[in-house]
């Protein structure tokens, strides 16, 4: 194991994969000499050259379109979208072309491409801070990955760069300066493999990306009150590791979902619904951002988003409601 910053884990994963696979090319704003907006491509331009590490103009639509077409024609492009909010501008080639290509060509063409985007709030305001994971998981044909640790950034990005179809790999801005353990040897994190970050018997809390870290903090608060929360980090937003989730809620009987995006048609909403279908009597609650844009004002930003206190409060409410229901049933 080595201790690497999140951004270093990303650079290492890309570098190893580019060395292994000469068809990988990188495209995006400020990724060449500048080394990436988060210093996550530092050294790659110098190592692999201008043909494989290409700066693009501020033009997300053509960047994603280039990636989709190049993927269909034999390359394996990694397109960088500085803020996931700007992926909206490039959704047409991703959703209308890449995601449908294998299906519509009867498997004669595929789009093995990765869009690497950065989500989440860290003071950038309404159009630079959103979490749109649930939009993407709604589209058949797209894999959505979102790490919360350096090790998973490394392992998931390597998986993404070997995937047969389009992958959206989503970082969170608050993760880049954090450090973490990364295996020295090559270790891939497969899709649909959630990680149990903390074991517990009273309820299961499912989160992903930066909210996994927030949820671990919440679990510590709850533990002081004697509530043992099991924390699961999805890592793979789609496909979902249903088996790990189901096994956990069978043990705890209670599910709280936490995400930085919206609750309406959210990642957690989908997970809660499916697990309720699988497990009669499962009690669920969800927590996401308040239904408002994210502001650059620190007060309004934290008002909008879940934090450890709010996660803990949601967990308490869920358990309390469940106890009241039980009392009502027995009397």
């Amino acid at each position: 194991m080595s201790r690497l910053f999140f951004r270093e884990a990303i650079a290492r994963a890309i570098s190893e994969e580019m060395q292994r696979d000469p068809t990988i090319i990188l495209m995006g704003q400020d990724i060449a000499e500048h080394g990436g907006s988060y210093a996550e491509t530092r050294g790659l331009f110098e190592r692999f050259g201008a043909a494989r590490v290409r700066n693009t103009p501020v033009a997300e639509a053509v960047t994603v379109g280039l990636a989709a077409g190049a993927a269909a024609a034999g390359l394996r492009p990694l397109a960088f979208i500085t803020y996931v909010d700007f992926l909206m501008i490039g959704l047409d080639p991703l959703v209308n072309y890449a995601a449908k290509l294998k299906f519509k060509s009867a498997a004669q063409l595929t789009a093995p491409m990765v869009v690497k985007a950065t989500a989440g709030a860290k003071g950038q305001g309404p159009t630079h801070a959103q979490s749109l994971d649930s939009w993407l998981m709604n589209v058949p044909g797209i894999t959505v990955l979102a790490p919360s640790t350096s090790g998973d950034a490394y392992g998931l990005l390597k998986t993404a760069l070997r995937a047969p179809g389009p992958v959206v790999y989503i970082d969170h801005k608050r993760l880049f300066p954090l450090g973490g353990e990364v295996p020295d040897g090559e270790t891939l994190v497969p899709v649909a493999s959630a990680a149990i970050r903390r074991e517990g018997r009273h309820l299961t809390i499912v989160a992903h990306s930066y909210m996994s870290l927030v949820t671990i903090e919440a679990a510590k608060l709850l533990a002081k009150e004697g509530i043992e929360a099991e924390v699961i980090d999805l890592r793979s937003v789609w496909p979902v590791d249903w088996d790990t989730l189901e096994a956990s809620v069978r043990r705890t009987g209670h599910l709280l979902t936490v995400e930085e995006g919206q609750e309406v048609c959210g990642v957690g909403t989908e997970i809660a619904f499916v697990l309720q279908e699988r497990l009669d009597g499962l009690r669920v609650a969800r927590l996401g951002a308040r239904r408002m844009p994210v502001s650059a004002s620190p007060v309004l930003e934290s008002y909008a988003l879940p934090d450890a206190e709010r996660v803990a409060a949601s967990a308490r409410r869920l358990l309390q409601r469940a106890r009241q229901d039980d009392v009502a049933v027995t009397t």
Partner: protein
């Protein structure tokens, strides 16, 4: 007028255009022809483009794809099956008109989103450049796409990276009901390429020989490494936008379109050259009719697609 082609090649071009038109007529005779965008009046564009491109040169087109697919070499029976949604077409009935592809002959496919294939084509061209294939990627799009931002972004990156990309605007005069002049502010569509330094020409897209000449010049230059090119091919959409769209253009205008019919014009030229007479024309038409009958039979016999099988390819 270009007369560089041989007698046999001239007759082949005519027969190809006759096949395209007869095929679309056969499609309309199907019990359920579906939502189709036809190419009546635009056959010279498709035949001329595909005359010049090698099969190793990737071709992408708009949702007005039927003529392009046939001219490229998609078998007519399979294409007919594809268009009506049956298994037996190149994409097992899943793609239909708007997305038909056949990578084995370099047809990377149609794309039903207007202007949607432009940036994808730039990506295909980037792959050719990066993999040193020597191929020229050709993207055909309508005049309607010229009002979209995708063209600006694609021209910019293609010029910046000197991509081996040929952009062909099939200007049939209308985006559904909106005339070019009402939808696009520039005087000439070729003006759109000028700011990026991309060489552009406008030609008569109802003259198959002119199309071939312009294509040959552009493809040769791109293959030699001179970067992207833009050709506007002016032609006429002789029918309504689609099988589901009302035709509201004045009948006097539609009458005038007859003079721009690329097939009629080419017949006249070949007759003037002494290469075509009534007997020869009847012979070509009989050959086309035989091919169409076989295509109709193939499509009739083709099975419907299986949902479970399709689901596995998501």
């Amino acid at each position: 007028m270009e007369q560089a082609c041989s007698h046999a090649e001239g007759l082949r071009r005519l027969e190809s255009m006759l096949l395209l038109r007869a095929f679309e007529a056969a499609l309309l005779r199907q019990p359920k022809p579906g939502f189709q965008l036809l190419s009546r009046g635009e056959e010279a564009v498709a035949v001329g483009i595909c005359t010049v491109l090698e099969r190793s040169d990737p071709l992408l087109c708009s949702g007005r794809s039927i003529a392009m697919a046939l001219a490229r070499g998609v078998p007519s029976g399979g294409l007919l099956a594809e268009l009506i949604g049956k298994d037996g077409g190149p994409n097992k009935g899943r793609a239909g008109r708007a997305h038909v592809s056949m990578p084995s002959i370099g047809l990377y496919g149609a794309h039903g989103v207007v202007a949607g294939n432009l940036s994808v084509a730039a990506g295909v061209a980037l792959a050719q450049q990066q993999l040193h294939t020597g191929a020229v990627t050709c993207c055909v799009f309508g005049d309607g796409a010229c009002g979209a931002g995708a063209l600006h972004e694609t021209l910019n990156i293609a010029a910046l990276w000197q991509l081996p990309l040929l952009l062909v605007c099939d200007n049939n005069g209308y985006a559904v009901s909106t005339a070019v002049r009402q939808g696009i502010a520039v005087e000439q569509l070729t003006d759109l390429a000028a700011p990026f330094g991309v060489p552009a020409v406008a030609i008569d897209g109802t003259d198959v020989d002119d199309v071939v000449t312009a294509m040959h010049e552009a493809v040769t230059a791109i293959r030699a490494g001179s970067g992207p090119r833009f050709i506007e091919m002016r032609c006429t959409r002789m029918g309504p936008h689609s099988t589901a769209t009302r035709e509201e253009r004045p009948s006097a205008e539609l009458e005038r379109f007859r003079d721009t019919d690329p097939i009629m014009r080419y017949e006249q030229r070949l007759r003037a050259l002494g290469w075509l007479d009534d007997a020869k024309l009847a012979e070509l038409q009989a050959a086309v009719a035989t091919a169409i009958t076989a295509a109709e039979q193939y499509a009739a016999d083709a099975p419907w697609p299986d949902g479970d099988e399709a689901l596995r390819d998501v």
